[in-house]
């Protein structure tokens, strides 16, 4: 650790920066090994398996109408659910941070339940409530709006499981946005509405994007709760993870890995873009870094 004792003047970028914190080699080695074992190798296996088809076969399998249909259902519903979650999750985070009311702590704890609840339980519960003869479903049935067994049901299930991600990412940042900033805005003559749209929401943008990305990723990958409520009609309410499962049951392992690979690439691309926007806004807005 001689570098740590007498830091040399910096000459451009070097792989290893002098640091007073010891154990760089050990921790980095451990991180990479762990990362490889848990994430990289399984994903690589997936890619290799699906590559066995050759580019043409891969393309054919990936553009199968049923596959495309399921991918569309998965991504569109996940985007809608993440969008809904961002709006209401922000609202819930706001209420939890800003107001003191009886039962706040219990309410706060309940937010985390979707993390802990087995997704199948959630799916069955949601189906029971939103089915045409369920408590809430019965209210919508006369309007001709079926929720369970349609894409609407998928969105509901995704909202349920994605909500805590949004609330929990926005909450700490909202606590950090000081009350004084709002007061400053008011003394400068800004109305409540102007303070919210010009001061508070811009400060929350990076956190909102993170919450959106997390809720979206969770929605795309969700399986357990959705299959109960979706109805699983091909081209209408069949999600990609379910199609993978169906392919596996047909012993069509390659077909399953192709869908999985496409999902992986799409998700990665989307998350990467969101991450870039987030990094940019974080640099700009300064909160949460």
């Amino acid at each position: 650790m001689s570098a740590a004792v007498s830091p040399a003047p910096r000459r451009g970028w070097s792989f290893r920066r002098p640091s007073v914190i010891p154990g760089f080699g050990l921790t980095l080695g451990f991180t990479l090994t762990y990362f490889s074992l848990v994430i990289l190798i399984p994903l690589l296996a997936l890619a290799i398996r699906s590559a066995g088809l050759g580019p043409e076969g891969f393309w054919k399998a990936a553009t199968d109408p049923r596959v495309l249909g399921s991918l569309r259902v998965s991504f569109v519903t996940a985007l809608i659910a993440a969008g809904v979650n961002v709006v209401f999750g922000t609202l819930i985070a706001w209420v939890l941070v800003r107001y003191r009311f009886p039962g706040r702590r219990i309410f706060d704890a309940i937010i985390d339940l979707p993390f802990a609840l087995p997704t199948a339980v959630a799916g069955i519960a949601l189906t029971a409530i939103y089915a045409p003869n369920g408590t809430i479903g019965a209210l919508f049935a006369p309007l001709g709006w079926r929720i369970a067994y349609t894409p609407s049901g998928i969105v509901i299930a995704m909202i349920f499981i994605g909500l805590p991600f949004v609330v929990r990412t926005i909450q700490p940042i909202l606590e950090e946005v000081s009350h004084e900033v709002e007061e400053a805005s008011a003394t400068l003559g800004a109305s409540r509405f102007q303070t919210i749209t010009r001061i508070i929401l811009p400060s929350l943008t990076p956190a909102i994007l993170t919450g959106f990305a997390l809720a979206f990723a969770r929605g795309v990958g969700e399986y357990g709760s959705i299959i109960f409520i979706a109805g699983n009609i091909p081209f209408v309410s069949e999600i990609a993870p379910l199609l993978i499962y169906i392919r596996l049951q047909e012993f069509n392992y390659v077909g399953a890995t192709v869908i999985a690979t496409v999902m992986l690439l799409l998700s990665f691309a989307l998350l990467f873009i969101i991450n870039l926007i987030q990094a940019w806004s974080r640099r700009r807005y300064g909160y949460g870094n």
């Binding site: 007061e183 400053a184 800004a190």
Partner: protein, 345 residues
């Protein structure tokens, strides 16, 4: 603009933070609200700003009753201790915010807003930094931006809440001088809160000393320093030493010895003597305050000697020039040059 605080009382959850406070702030003056924490000075400032509403009493801006007006309507400039800048806006956007949020009918054109913001940036000596973000500035620079932002709306009153509290001593002294200059140039009625008596004495036209939700004394720095009207003010403003004394036969007595000070018009009985440690004469007469030196510390250009007076072990402090020969002695006798008597208790 003149500000009149009239019999204002403020309670937080039944806990009184201000008891029946009245204060007249003159147009164009720089007044300091000074007091220890919990004295209600920040509450009073926030009441003037409209960030809090009084439980009782009224606040007038000129002749208009501002008590019922919202913060937005009062047109005040407020500077917070921790700057409260908008982190996602550039310095220029921060300064022009107050003008940009005005309704269309009273909002100046964009070019005019920009011109005024640049002018203010120049006033606070930060020209060239308009495109930076607050996180790229030092604490002192941020506070100057906060001041420029508050000045941009042409406030009726400028209110500063411990504006230099978060800055280090060097920057604080610099900004203090600079704030005085800005005030002299712009002439805004300014109220600032501080717990730093040196800051208040140096900066303000008048100070308002507060304690436990009440105003103890209002006056020019010299009046408050030279003629404190209560033991609290004597103890809080400047250095002070205090000693219990007995008034008898028109003289002051300590431990059965006359100390050579006339009692003036104080009635016989117990009293408390207050004096400034630097305002004493060393003497060799019998009628004096004599004591045993318990500690002596060199503080810059003076030597602060702590004396134990009489058998009861009362400690008082006395300042000597650091090279004064008496600093080596174990026993000192002195008499305050100026002093004040307050009733005991």
């Amino acid at each position: 603009m003149e500000v009149r605080v009239q019999n204002v009382r403020k309670e937080f959850d039944r806990f009184p933070a201000l008891h029946d406070v009245s204060l007249d702030i003159r147009s164009g003056e720089l007044i300091a609200l000074l007091g220890p924490s919990g004295s209600g000075k920040t509450t009073l400032l926030r009441l003037i700003a409209g960030l809090e509403m009084p439980t009782q009493g009224k606040i007038f801006f000129g002749d208009t009753d501002a008590s019922e007006k919202s913060v937005q309507e009062r047109n005040i400039g407020f500077v917070f201790q921790h700057y409260a800048l908008f982190r996602h806006m550039t310095i220029l956007e921060n300064i022009s915010f107050g003008l940009k949020v005005r309704p269309r009918s009273t909002r100046p054109p964009n070019s005019e807003i920009r011109r005024r913001a640049m002018e203010l940036l120049d006033l606070v000596q930060l020209s060239g930094l308009e495109k930076r973000y607050p996180s790229q500035l030092s604490g002192g620079q941020r506070q100057r931006v906060a001041l420029a932002r508050a000045l941009a709306i042409e406030p009726a009153v400028l209110l500063l809440d411990e504006p230099f509290g978060a800055l280090d001593a060097q920057v604080r002294r610099e900004l203090r001088k600079w704030l005085r200059e800005i005030h002299d140039r712009t002439g805004h009625t300014t109220v600032f809160v501080t717990h730093d008596q040196e800051e208040a004495l140096e900066l303000s036209d008048r100070l308002c000393v507060m304690s436990q939700g009440r105003i103890e004394q209002v006056g020019t720095p010299d009046t408050v320093y030279d003629h404190p009207t209560s033991p609290f003010v004597f103890g809080f403003i400047g250095e002070s030493s205090t000693l219990p004394v007995t008034v008898e036969n028109g003289e002051l007595w300590v431990g059965g010895r006359a100390i050579g000070l006339p009692a003036g018009d104080a009635g016989p009985g117990e009293a408390r003597l207050f004096f400034r440690p630097h305002d004493v004469d060393l003497i060799e007469a019998d009628a004096s305050l004599a004591g045993v030196v318990s500690t002596a510390r060199r503080v810059g250009g003076t030597r602060r000697v702590e004396l134990e007076i009489g058998g009861a072990g009362h400690l008082v402090e006395v300042d000597l020039p650091f090279d004064h020969p008496a600093g080596e002695k174990t026993r000192l006798a002195f008499r305050p040059r100026r002093w004040k008597l307050f009733p005991a208790g």
